[in-house]
C-alpha cells in the first residue's frame, strides 16, 4: 500500500470552511489533492445518510467542515453536524470500520492555513488507515487470486 | 386476642416489645438459622425472618421460619410482593400457618435491580397494602383474595413496615394510616437515626389517633463504623442519617467505633421509650446478631416478660 492515494470527501459549509478553502487557494497554500469538496449551505444540512453514502460509493475518508463553535451562520448547524458525525462514527464502529475515517472539523472563513493543514492531517490519517475496507477486500482477493 | 401470637400478647400486656431479625442463609444448611436464632432467643419476643432480603436469593423465609418455630421460638414471617403473585403468597401463608407460624410482616420488597438477579422480572401483582388487606381478610373473613372461602383460615398477627424518612414526609403518616386501615396490627419502622424527625412523625401519628389503633415498634440499627454510617446516608434509599451522627462516629478511633455505634443505639432506645405511640423496638443488627442481647440489656429491656 505504499502508493495508496485515498479519496476523501469534505462536506464544507458555504460560510466558513468553503471560504477558508478558497482562502488557502488565494494564498497558494498547498494541500493534498485527495480532498474533494462538496459545498453545502450549512453543515447542519449534511445528513447522516450523505456520510454513509460517501463511504458506500467508495470514499476512504469523509469529513464535515463547518464554522467555529458559536459562529455558525445558522446558530447551531455545526453543533448538530458534530452530533451526527459522532452517531455515524458509532455505526462505522459497529460495522468494524475505523471511526477515524470520519471527522468533524471547524474553522473560520479566514483560516486558509487551517483548512490546508486539516486536509493534510486528515489525508495522512487515512493513508495510515489504508484503503476503505471495501477496497481492502478487493485488493486482498486480488492478491490472493494473483498469489 | 385475634391470634396466638406471642408478640400480640406482649403488646397487649402493655409492655414494650422487642423483635429482631435473622437473615436466612444462602444455602441449604438449617444449622445456620439455628445458630443465629440462638444468639438472640432470650432477648426478643419475635424473630423476623427476612424474605430474599435486598433481592438476593436466600433460603425461603417460611422454611427458615419453620426451623425457628421448631426450636420453640417465635418467628415473624416476612413476605415481599416482589417475588410471588397473589396465588403463591396466599398458599405460602396458609402453609406457614399450618406449621405454627402466626405472625407475619407484609412488605413490597427491594427492587430486583439491587440484587443478584437484576435480570428477573419483579412480580408486584399486588402491593404491600393490598397484601395486608388480603391477610386480614383471610383471617377475619375467612376468604381468599379471589373471594372463595377458606375452611380453616390462618390467624396471622399482621405487621407492616413504615419508613418515616422517605419522601414525601407529609405522606408518610397517611400511608401508615392506609396500612392500618388495610388491617395492620403492628408496624416496624425503618432504622431511626434522625430522632427529631421521628418524634415529629410520631406526633403527627398520635394527632390522628393512630397510636390507639396499632402497635409501633421503632427500628434500631447499631452501626459498626463511620463507613457504614456514610454508606447508609448516601447509598441506601430512604435512609436519613443526620450529619451529627456521622460526626459522632467519626469522632472516635476506628477500634472504638463499634462500641460507639452500640452506645448510640442504646441511647436512641432510651430516648424513644418515652415517646408516645412507641410500643416496642425492632432491632436490626445486620450481620451483627451477637450484639442484640447487649443492646437489649443495656437499654433496660431485659428480661423479657414471661407469658
Amino acid at each position: 500500500m505504499e502508493n495508496f492515494e485515498p479519496e476523501i470527501v469534505a462536506f464544507c459549509c458555504h460560510y466558513c470552511a468553503y471560504t477558508a478553502a478558497d482562502m488557502a487557494g488565494s494564498k497558494r497554500i498547498s494541500y493534498p489533492p485527495n480532498v474533494k469538496i462538496i459545498r453545502v449551505p450549512c453543515t447542519g444540512k449534511v445528513d447522516a445518510i450523505h456520510m454513509m453514502k460517501a463511504f458506500e460509493k467508495g470514499a476512504d475518508g469523509v469529513y464535515v467542515a463547518g464554522c467555529l463553535e458559536g459562529d455558525c451562520h445558522f446558530k447551531n448547524g455545526n453543533t448538530r453536524a458534530g452530533y451526527r458525525v459522532a452517531y455515524v462514527q458509532k455505526i462505522l464502529e459497529e460495522l468494524g470500520w475505523e471511526k477515524d475515517r470520519l471527522a468533524m472539523i471547524t474553522m473560520s472563513a479566514g483560516m486558509g492555513e487551517r483548512f490546508a493543514r486539516t486536509a493534510r492531517e486528515f489525508t495522512e490519517k487515512i493513508k495510515e488507515l489504508g484503503p476503505s475496507p471495501i477496497k481492502q477486500f478487493n485488493t486482498d482477493t486480488h492478491q490472493q487470486a494473483a498469489g | 386476642m385475634k391470634t396466638e401470637s406471642r408478640l400480640e400478647k406482649v403488646l397487649a400486656s402493655g409492655a414494650l416489645a422487642v423483635t429482631s431479625e435473622v437473615g436466612p442463609p444462602r444455602g441449604a444448611l438449617p444449622e445456620k438459622v439455628r445458630q443465629k436464632a440462638t444468639l438472640i432467643k432470650d432477648h426478643v419476643d419475635g424473630i423476623n425472618v427476612t424474605d430474599n432480603q435486598t433481592a438476593m436469593v436466600r433460603m425461603s423465609s417460611w422454611a427458615a421460619g419453620v426451623i425457628i418455630k421448631q426450636m420453640g421460638l417465635d418467628p415473624i414471617l416476612q413476605m415481599v410482593t416482589r417475588d410471588r403473585n397473589r396465588l403463591a403468597m396466599q398458599s405460602d401463608i396458609i402453609g406457614a400457618y399450618s406449621m405454627g407460624i402466626n405472625t407475619m410482616m407484609c412488605l413490597s420488597g427491594d427492587h430486583v435491580k439491587f440484587g443478584d438477579h437484576a435480570n428477573a422480572n419483579g412480580v408486584f401483582d399486588i402491593d404491600s397494602v393490598q397484601l395486608v388487606q388480603t391477610v386480614r381478610r383471610m383471617r377475619d373473613e375467612g376468604k381468599f383474595q379471589g373471594g372463595a372461602d377458606i375452611d380453616t383460615p390462618p390467624k396471622m398477627f399482621i405487621g407492616a413496615a413504615a419508613n418515616p424518612f422517605a419522601d414525601p414526609f407529609e405522606l408518610r403518616v397517611m400511608r401508615l394510616a392506609k396500612k392500618i386501615k388495610a388491617g395492620a396490627d403492628f408496624i416496624q419502622t425503618q432504622c431511626i437515626f434522625n430522632l427529631d424527625k421521628f418524634e415529629k412523625y410520631m406526633e403527627m401519628m398520635c394527632d390522628r389517633g393512630l397510636d390507639q389503633q396499632v402497635h409501633l415498634l421503632a427500628g434500631i440499627t447499631p452501626m459498626k463504623s463511620v463507613g457504614m454510617a456514610r454508606y447508609m446516608k448516601n447509598k441506601v434509599p430512604g435512609m436519613d442519617v443526620p450529619d451529627d451522627v456521622i460526626k459522632r462516629m467519626a469522632g472516635v478511633s476506628k477500634e472504638e467505633q463499634p462500641e460507639e455505634g452500640i452506645r448510640i443505639a442504646i441511647e436512641s432506645i432510651q430516648r424513644l421509650k418515652e415517646v408516645k405511640g412507641v410500643h416496642g423496638f425492632h432491632i436490626m443488627a445486620i450481620e451483627w446478631e451477637e450484639k442484640v442481647p447487649q443492646i437489649v440489656e443495656k437499654a433496660g429491656l431485659f428480661p423479657r416478660p414471661v407469658l
Partner: protein, 1012 residues
C-alpha cells in the same frame, strides 16, 4: 468588473472614501435605489478595517464579517466604484452639485484583469496589490481578496513595458493609460475618509519605529492576522520567537500629555488594547502575560464594560493605572524595559517586557484639510469636520455629509451608524425615486425545460495560466466530452471576460443546452455572474453549476500537475453529475408594504419618523404617553449649550403637522404578526384603549431607556441630593440658588458599573462636565468636586474635561470597593471619600450633591416587545442588534430596526444619528417593491410527513409548524435555507431546494463514478 455605467443624466450621491463607513453608506444608497459613485484614492477599497485581525467586542475574525460587504458592491446596479480617484472640486449646491473627479492611471484594464498574479510574480516591484509579507511595513498590506479584484501598476517603476505586457495573458496592461478627469452630477456628497493613525516615531521616549519589538496597535493586529506577515503566528519581530510578556501603553499621541499629542481622546484604543490582550491569551497562550498601562479605562460603549471585566477577571489581563515614562531596549536581547510610577506609590518601577504595543489614536492628515477646502466645509479646532449640534453628519455646507472618523474618533459600530445616517440624509437631497424597473429585470423570458432530456454544456476556463498553466485544459475538456448528456465541452479563455461570456451564451443557444457546468474559479465570487449569463440565455439561473478548478485545485496543487489534472477531472464529474439533477427554481418574493411603524415618540422616534415621512413613506408613530417628547424633555441644555426644549418643541410641531405621519399617542402595542415587509401590529389606543391594527413593512423601535434612580448616596432623602438631570434644570431655572452654593459634589457611576448594573451609562461624564462648566460660568467661586472612577470624556468631550480642570474643578478618584459616603447631619450634607492620590480620607461639607445616575433599560417595555416581536435582548435588557459590529441598527428579524437609548445609553446627538441611520436602513427595504428571498428554502412533502415535530424543534429560527392538514409547513418567506430540518427529518419529507438529497448524492456518484 462592473461596467462604468452612463449615469451622468441621473443625479448621484458621491461617496468619498472606501472604508467600512463609505462602503456602508454606498451600499445603503444603492439598496435604496439611489445612484452612487464611490471613490477612493487607493487602488482597492476596504480601509482600515481590512487590516484588523479580530474586532471587539465579539472577537471574531474580520475577514468573514467584512467580506460579504466587499463583494456586495459588485452586485449593485446603482453603484459605481472608482478606485484611485480623488475629488478635485465641488460646485453648485445641495441637490445640484457638480463634482470634478480625477482618476489616476491604473495601467490595467479592470475588465480584463483576472488577478492571476503573473505580473506581480515577475515584476513585484512595479505591481501593487499584495497580501504583503513585509513585517516592517504592515500598513501597506491589504486584505487578500481586494475589491476591485484587480492589480494596478506603478508605471514609474516599470523598466520594460513590453515585457510586462507580454506577461499578461489577459492582455490587460494598458501602458498608455492616463489620468482621467470626469464630472459627476451629484445631489449630495458623503465624506468618509477616516483618519490616519498616529505615528509614534514622533515620540522619542517610547522607541516607536526604532525598537524592533515596540509596535503600534495596528502593527500588532497585522502580526496576529492570518493574512499578516507571519501567517497569524504571534512572534516578535526581532527574533521570530513567541513573546512571553506583552505590554500595552494607552493614549500614545492622544489626550494631550506629550509634545506631539493631540488634546482629544481617540475613543477606540482602550477597547482595542483589551481585545488584543484577550486574543493574545485566547489564541496563542494563556501563559503570555499581558499588561495594560492606562490613565482612564474608557469602555463606554454597549456592553463594553463587561468586556473590560472579562479581560480583567476571566483572562487575567493586568491593569496598571499609570503613564510610563519611557521604554529602554536591551540592544542584545531586544527585550524592553518600561519605567513607570503608580499613583499609590511615588517610587519608580522598572519592569521587563518582550514586546510593547503602543495604543496610538487617530490623527487627521494634511490631505483632509485640502479636501475640506475643495469641498468647502469647515473643520473644527482638531481638524475634523465641523457638524451640526443636533445632527452629527451634517457639515457646514448643505448637501455635504460626513461619517466615521472624519467626523470624530469612533469605533466601527458608530461609524456604521453614521454611515447609514449620512446615506439617509444624502438620499433626501436627491429627487424622489421613480418607479422604474430595475435593470435586472431586463432578461428574456425563461425557457421551460420540464421533460427535456439533459443537454449539458461544459465550459472550462483556463484563467490565463492560472488553471491552464497547471493542468491541460484541452485534455480535461476532451475527457469529459464523453460523459453522458454532455453535448458541448469546450475551453474558454477567460471565462468571466465579456468575450467568453458571449461565447458561452451563443453555445447555449446553438446547442439548445439546458444545463451548464462552468469550470473556473470560486462560485462564491462568480456564481452571480454566471447566473446572470444563464438568464440572458433564457435559462433558469439555478441550472448552472460552478466547479472550483482554480481556488481549490490549480492554486493549491501547483507542484503536482498530474494530481491536479485528475482532481480537475473528478471535480468536473461532480459538477456534471450534480447539474443533471438541478431543477428550475423560482426565487421567492413577496410584495412590500410601504408603511413604517415607529414605536416611541421621543427625539429618536420623531427624527426617524420625519426622515422617512420626508421620503414619502407613510409613518405610524406610536407613543404610549399622551404627549410626544420622551426622555429628552427632562434635559434643558446640551453640553454644546443648545436649548433642548425649543428643539423638541420644533420637532413635535414638525411631526404633528406632517401629512405622512399618523401620530398615535396613548397607544400600546399588544400583538404582532406577519413577515418582514408585511407586518401587522395590534395596538390599544386612546384613553379607553381601543384596539386597532396597523399594516406596515418595516418597524423602528425607539422606545428609549429610563433615567436611573438607584437607592444610593441618599438619593431621595434630602432636597440637595439629586441627579444630574435635576441639577441641569436648577442651573437653568434658578441661577441665584447656584450662586449661593459654596461647594458642589458630583458622584460619578452612581448605580452604574456595579454588579447589578454592570455597564457604563456613557452619558454621565459629559453631563458632569456640562453642569460643572455651567456652574462655573454662573458662579466662578463655587468649588466643585467630581468624584469619579474613570473619566470617560471620549472624543472631543475631552476638551470639556480639560476646561473643567483649567477652571479648577477638583477631580477625586475612588474605587468601587471604597465608595464615597454621604452623611446628613442637622440638614448638612457631607461627603466622605478616600482620595487615592492623597492616600487619606477627605470630608467635603457640601451644599449640593449631584449623582451621575445615568440610565437603565426599560425592562418591562423591552421585555413585552421582545416577546411579541421575537427579539433578543442583552443581559441588561436593552435590545440586542443583529451584529454588534456591522449591523448596529438592524435587528435579527429582517425589517426591524432600533435606534436611540433602546439600543444602549447615548446622548441626544448620538440618538439622533442613530435615528437617521435606522430610517436609512428602513429605506433600503422600503425601496424595494418586493423582497427576494432566494430559492434555497426547505419544502415539505405533506404525503411523507409524519408530523413528528422534529423540524419544528430543530429549526434554529422556529419557522416550521404543523398545519391544519396535519403536516409540517415551512413558510418560504421566513425560511433561512440552512437545511437543518431536511437533514433531521426522520420521514425524509423535507428537501432543501437547490441542495436536495439527490443532488448531493449525484455529486458523490460523479466523484466515484469510476468505482461503481
Amino acid at each position: 468588473m462592473q461596467k462604468l455605467k452612463d449615469i451622468q443624466q441621473d443625479k448621484s450621491v458621491l461617496v468619498i472614501g472606501g472604508g467600512v463607513g463609505g462602503i456602508r453608506a454606498a451600499l445603503d444608497l444603492a439598496e435604496s435605489r439611489r445612484n452612487v459613485v464611490l471613490i477612493d484614492k487607493s487602488y482597492a477599497i476596504g480601509g482600515l478595517m481590512t487590516q484588523l485581525d479580530r474586532t471587539f467586542p465579539t472577537n471574531n475574525c474580520d475577514l468573514c464579517t467584512v467580506s460579504p460587504h466587499l463583494s456586495e458592491n459588485t452586485r449593485q446596479i446603482h453603484l459605481e466604484l472608482s478606485p484611485m480617484t480623488q475629488l478635485e472640486s465641488l460646485t453648485g449646491e445641495a441637490g445640484d452639485f457638480k463634482a470634478t473627479l480625477v482618476t489616476e492611471p491604473r495601467y490595467i484594464d479592470m475588465d480584463k484583469c483576472t488577478a492571476c498574479g503573473e505580473c506581480y510574480k515577475q515584476f513585484p516591484e512595479a505591481v501593487r496589490f499584495t497580501p504583503g509579507l513585509d513585517p516592517r511595513a504592515p500598513t501597506c498590506m491589504r486584505y487578500p481578496h481586494a475589491t476591485p479584484y484587480a492589480f494596478s501598476i506603478d508605471m514609474e517603476k516599470v523598466s520594460d513595458i513590453a515585457a510586462l505586457q507580454k506577461v499578461c495573458k489577459a492582455d490587460a496592461i494598458l501602458p498608455e493609460d492616463t489620468q482621467k478627469r470626469t464630472t459627476v452630477d451629484a445631489g449630495a456628497v458623503v465624506l468618509s475618509i477616516g483618519a490616519e493613525l498616529f505615528d509614534p516615531a514622533a515620540l522619542d521616549n517610547y522607541g516607536g519605529g526604532r525598537f524592533d519589538n515596540v509596535v503600534t496597535g495596528l502593527e500588532y493586529e497585522r502580526i496576529m492576522s492570518a493574512s499578516g506577515p507571519f501567517q497569524g503566528d504571534l512572534v516578535r519581530v526581532s527574533d521570530k520567537k513567541r513573546p512571553k510578556k506583552v505590554a500595552w501603553i494607552q493614549c500614545v499621541g492622544s489626550r494631550g500629555i506629550n509634545r506631539a499629542d493631540v488634546p482629544y481622546c481617540s475613543g477606540v484604543c482602550c477597547m482595542y488594547a483589551l481585545k488584543e490582550a484577550m486574543v493574545t491569551k485566547e489564541r496563542f497562550a494563556e501563559s503570555i502575560e499581558t499588561t495594560i498601562f492606562f490613565m482612564d479605562m474608557r469602555t463606554y460603549g454597549k456592553d463594553y464594560e463587561q468586556y473590560f471585566n472579562r479581560a480583567k477577571d476571566d483572562y487575567g489581563v493586568r491593569m496598571i493605572r499609570c503613564r510610563p515614562h519611557s521604554i529602554v531596549q536591551d540592544d542584545e536581547t531586544r527585550d524592553l524595559s518600561i519605567t513607570y510610577t503608580t499613583e499609590d506609590e511615588a517610587r519608580h518601577k522598572t519592569e521587563e517586557f518582550d514586546m510593547v504595543v503602543l495604543s496610538t489614536g487617530f490623527r487627521v492628515p494634511e490631505s483632509t484639510r485640502d479636501l475640506a477646502g475643495r469641498l468647502g466645509i469647515e473643520l473644527n479646532t482638531h481638524n475634523f469636520a465641523e457638524t451640526d449640534h443636533f445632527n452629527s453628519v451634517k457639515t457646514s455646507r448643505p448637501g455635504v455629509y460626513v461619517c466615521g472618523v472624519a467626523e470624530s474618533p469612533k469605533d466601527i459600530p458608530e461609524t456604521m451608524v453614521q454611515a447609514s445616517a449620512a446615506a439617509s440624509m444624502a438620499a433626501a437631497d436627491l429627487p424622489a425615486v421613480m418607479d422604474v424597473l430595475d435593470t435586472e429585470e431586463d432578461f428574456p423570458p425563461e425557457r421551460d425545460i420540464t421533460g427535456e432530456a439533459a443537454r449539458i454544456g461544459v465550459f472550462v476556463c483556463d484563467c490565463g495560466l492560472e488553471i491552464g498553466g497547471v493542468v491541460d485544459v484541452d485534455k480535461i475538456v476532451a475527457s469529459v466530452a464523453t460523459c453522458a448528456d454532455v453535448v458541448v465541452s469546450q475551453t474558454v479563455g477567460y471565462g468571466c471576460s465579456s468575450d467568453s461570456m458571449r461565447v458561452i451564451e451563443a453555445a447555449i443557444k446553438t446547442h439548445h443546452l439546458n444545463r451548464v457546468v462552468i469550470g473556473g474559479c470560486s462560485p462564491r465570487t462568480h456564481e452571480t455572474k454566471f447566473q446572470d449569463l444563464m438568464r440572458r440565455a433564457g435559462l433558469n439561473k439555478y441550472l448552472v453549476e460552478i466547479v472550483n478548478l482554480r481556488d481549490q485545485n490549480t492554486w493549491v496543487h501547483i507542484g503536482q500537475p498530474e494530481a491536479a489534472l485528475d482532481k480537475a477531472y473528478k471535480l468536473l464529474q461532480i459538477g456534471i453529475s450534480g447539474v443533471r439533477k438541478n431543477r428550475s427554481l423560482v426565487d421567492h418574493t413577496l410584495p412590500m408594504n410601504q408603511n413604517a411603524l415607529v414605536v416611541g415618540g421621543g427625539v429618536t422616534g420623531m427624527t426617524a419618523a420625519l426622515q422617512l415621512a420626508g421620503q414619502g413613506v407613510k409613518v405610524y408613530l406610536v407613543e404610549r404617553n399622551a404627549e410626544l417628547g420622551g426622555m429628552a424633555t427632562s434635559i434643558r441644555r446640551t453640553i454644546e449649550g443648545d436649548d433642548v426644549r425649543s428643539f423638541i418643541t420644533q420637532l413635535v410641531k414638525d411631526v404633528t403637522k406632517h401629512k405622512n405621519i399618523q401620530v398615535l399617542t396613548r397607544s400600546i402595542i399588544v400583538d404582532h404578526s406577519g413577515v418582514p415587509g408585511l407586518f401587522k401590529t395590534g395596538i390599544q389606543t386612546g384613553l379607553r384603549m381601543n384596539y386597532m391594527q396597523l399594516a406596515h413593512g418595516v418597524t423602528i423601535f425607539a422606545t428609549g431607556a429610563v433615567a436611573n434612580r438607584p437607592d444610593v448616596y441618599g438619593l431621595g432623602t434630602h432636597d440637595n441630593i439629586t441627579t444630574q438631570l435635576e441639577l441641569d434644570a436648577l442651573i437653568e431655572d434658578d441661577p441665584e440658588k447656584i450662586k449661593a452654593m459654596n461647594q458642589v459634589v458630583m458622584i460619578q457611576c452612581a448605580g452604574s458599573r456595579e454588579a447589578d448594573n454592570p455597564n457604563c451609562s456613557r452619558v454621565c461624564c459629559q453631563a458632569a462636565m456640562k453642569n460643572a462648566l455651567r456652574i462655573k460660568a454662573i458662579s466662578p467661586d463655587t468649588q466643585i468636586f467630581i468624584l469619579y472612577r474613570d473619566i470617560r470624556t471620549y472624543g472631543f468631550y475631552e476638551d470639556y474635561y480639560k476646561q473643567a480642570r483649567d477652571l479648577d474643578v477638583k477631580f477625586v478618584r475612588f474605587s468601587v470597593d471604597n465608595k464615597p459616603e454621604v452623611w446628613i447631619e442637622n440638614d448638612q450634607v457631607s461627603v466622605f471619600v478616600d482620595d487615592v492620590i492623597l492616600g487619606r480620607k477627605i470630608q467635603i461639607e457640601t451644599d449640593y450633591v449631584a449623582l451621575s445616575t445615568g440610565m437603565v433599560a426599560d425592562d418591562e417595555t423591552t421585555e413585552d416587545l421582545a416577546m411579541m416581536f421575537h427579539l433578543p435582548r442583552t443581559t441588561d435588557n436593552y435590545f440586542l442588534e443583529d451584529h454588534v459590529k456591522l449591523r448596529p441598527v438592524d435587528m435579527s428579524v429582517r425589517g426591524i430596526f432600533i435606534a436611540g437609548t433602546t439600543h444602549s445609553p447615548k446622548t441626544i446627538r448620538e440618538s439622533i444619528t442613530q435615528a437617521y441611520a435606522a430610517a436609512g436602513r428602513a429605506q433600503t427595504l422600503l425601496a424595494k417593491k418586493e423582497i427576494n428571498l432566494g430559492a434555497a428554502i426547505a419544502k415539505v412533502d405533506g404525503t411523507k410527513c409524519a408530523a413528528c415535530l422534529v423540524c419544528v424543534r430543530a429549526c434554529p429560527f422556529g419557522i416550521p409548524f404543523i398545519n391544519e392538514d396535519g403536516y409540517s409547513q415551512i413558510d418560504p418567506a421566513q425560511c433561512q435555507g440552512c437545511g437543518i430540518c431536511a437533514a433531521d427529518c426522520p420521514a425524509k419529507a423535507i428537501q432543501l431546494l437547490a441542495f436536495e438529497d439527490d443532488q448531493i448524492l449525484a455529486k458523490l456518484d460523479g466523484l466515484f463514478g469510476g468505482l461503481n
